[in-house]
Amino acid sequence: MTDKPIAEEDYRRLCDYLYRRTGMSVSESRRYFVGRRIAERMAATGSTSFAGYFGRLRGNLDHELEHFVNAFTVNETYFYREDHQLRCLTSDLLPVRLSVRSAHQPIRIWSMPCSTGEEPYSIAIWLLENWPEVDAHNIEIVGSDIDTAVLASAREGVFSKRSLTRLTPQLTDRYFSQIDADRWQICEELRGSVRFSAANVVERNDTRPHGLFDVIFCRNVLIYFDEASRRVAAENLYENLAPGGFICLGHSESMSRISPLFEVCRFSDAIVYRRPLRGAQ
């Protein structure tokens, strides 16, 4: 069963369902990849037919939707992913934050979850390369993830060629050293300037000790959760945002569907969400 290609109608139904539940749009070109993920999940759940597995997925039996999305999205992270949000960070978010806060405090940015570190390091490189005011401020970048294995990898800072695809050769030369044919390590200076920590976004006792942030990147994780967990995560993130602070979600995610706690902010490069300046603790 695991090597049997998925039928066209089954593939369409699954993609349709995935889109409605997560907003993720899957093109025909990814059919083989999706088929493999389905085969893996069918084997893992002991499903003997697609219909049986699809019923399990739709019923979210034993959090199957989460497992499927995990299998579906794994290894999708890379440097400068959704870089329109990085442009938004330097063109809009940081200037707005600086207009309403003390210039003496460090600017705090949280990448949560950070996986193997591509996102927090991307933020660091982007700021150094694209923000003229970068030398005028102290900037603190924290990367957190529930998975301690990926955190260890993030601290080590070794990446494959595929992870660096979106970086120019000049940036790769400037910030990485090549280890072998397919591995590059990010420079020690950057490794030493990003703090990594273990935290589960739905555990308040994990999130609160991280303090208040000016900007939080929380991309492509809320889609994994059920309604209750999404609401808890939204409230935790709200508490960790400074009043007036911004949160960036993945392109398929909408905070408006999860919680009314945040204001929608439409900038030229991205739609982000903001903790209101008033009414916050």
Binding site: A7, E9, D10, R13, Y17, R20, S49, F50, A51, G52, F54, G55, R58, G59, P106, R108, A124, L127, L128, V134, D135, A136, H137, N138, I139, E140, I141, V142, E189, L190, G192, S193, V194, R195, S197, R204, R208, P209, H210, G211, L212, D226, E227, A228, R231, V232, E235, E239, N240, S259, P260, L261, G279, Q281
Partner: protein
């Protein structure tokens, strides 16, 4: 390099309010109390009472979230009245809670589908997604066979198309016949029928 690395010890903590009480006059205190209540199943009655008089949207959200985390049958009773609220955020929050208590919510679907308020019936169709598929299909079929509101039927058809099987095809056709002049019902029935009339779709 302008990038600095903090340590846990020099990170300024998030301040907790001095008082944590659902009846406090300070919203921050009530927010903290609602957030803390998620770990206490005995707090449902207090949360339900607080929800009835809470004016701060932020605190109301935290109360709904606590109820969604506690997820006992009493939580269903606490939030059901908000399905008929004029405030969309309250309706949405109530649905969030009801979805995570599928067994207790499923037991209330019969009365919800018979509610005189068509908006309640329409919203309740969404809840059928999270309850047992066979029973949900039976109830949705009953709805599309009898409900006089085309919007309610359209919502039921959409859900039916996702959780149902080919047994829903005749009722879908009869529903379309009840609204011969409604192009959207015709479209919805056609889309649902196409989806359900595929061999191997039944789980």
């Amino acid at each position: 390099m302008p990038l600095i690395r903090s340590t846990p010890s020099n990170t300024p903590p998030i301040e907790e309010p001095t008082e944590v009480n659902l009846r406090s006059s300070f919203a921050d205190s009530r927010w903290a109390a609602a957030r803390a209540a998620e770990h206490n199943p005995d707090s449902v009655a207090a949360l339900a009472e607080a929800l009835g008089c809470e004016t701060d949207m932020r605190v109301r959200e935290a109360i709904f979230t606590a109820l969604a985390r506690i997820r006992t049958p009493e939580c269903v009773d606490a939030v059901l009245p908000y399905l008929r609220s004029d405030d969309a955020s309250l309706r949405t929050a109530a649905i969030d809670v009801l979805r995570v208590v599928p067994k207790s919510t499923g037991a209330r679907l019969v009365e919800l589908f018979a509610d005189p308020d068509s908006d309640v019936r329409l919203l309740s169709c969404e809840l059928a997604r999270s309850v047992d598929g066979t029973e949900a299909q039976r109830l949705l079929i009953s709805l599309i066979e009898t409900d006089k509101e085309p919007n309610v039927c359209a919502a039921a058809i959409e859900v039916l198309s996702e959780i149902g099987d080919a047994a829903a095809l005749p009722p879908l056709a009869r529903c379309q016949a009840r609204f011969p002049d409604d192009p959207f019902i015709a479209f919805a029935v056609r889309a649902a029928s196409d989806r359900l009339d595929t061999p191997g779709d039944r789980d």
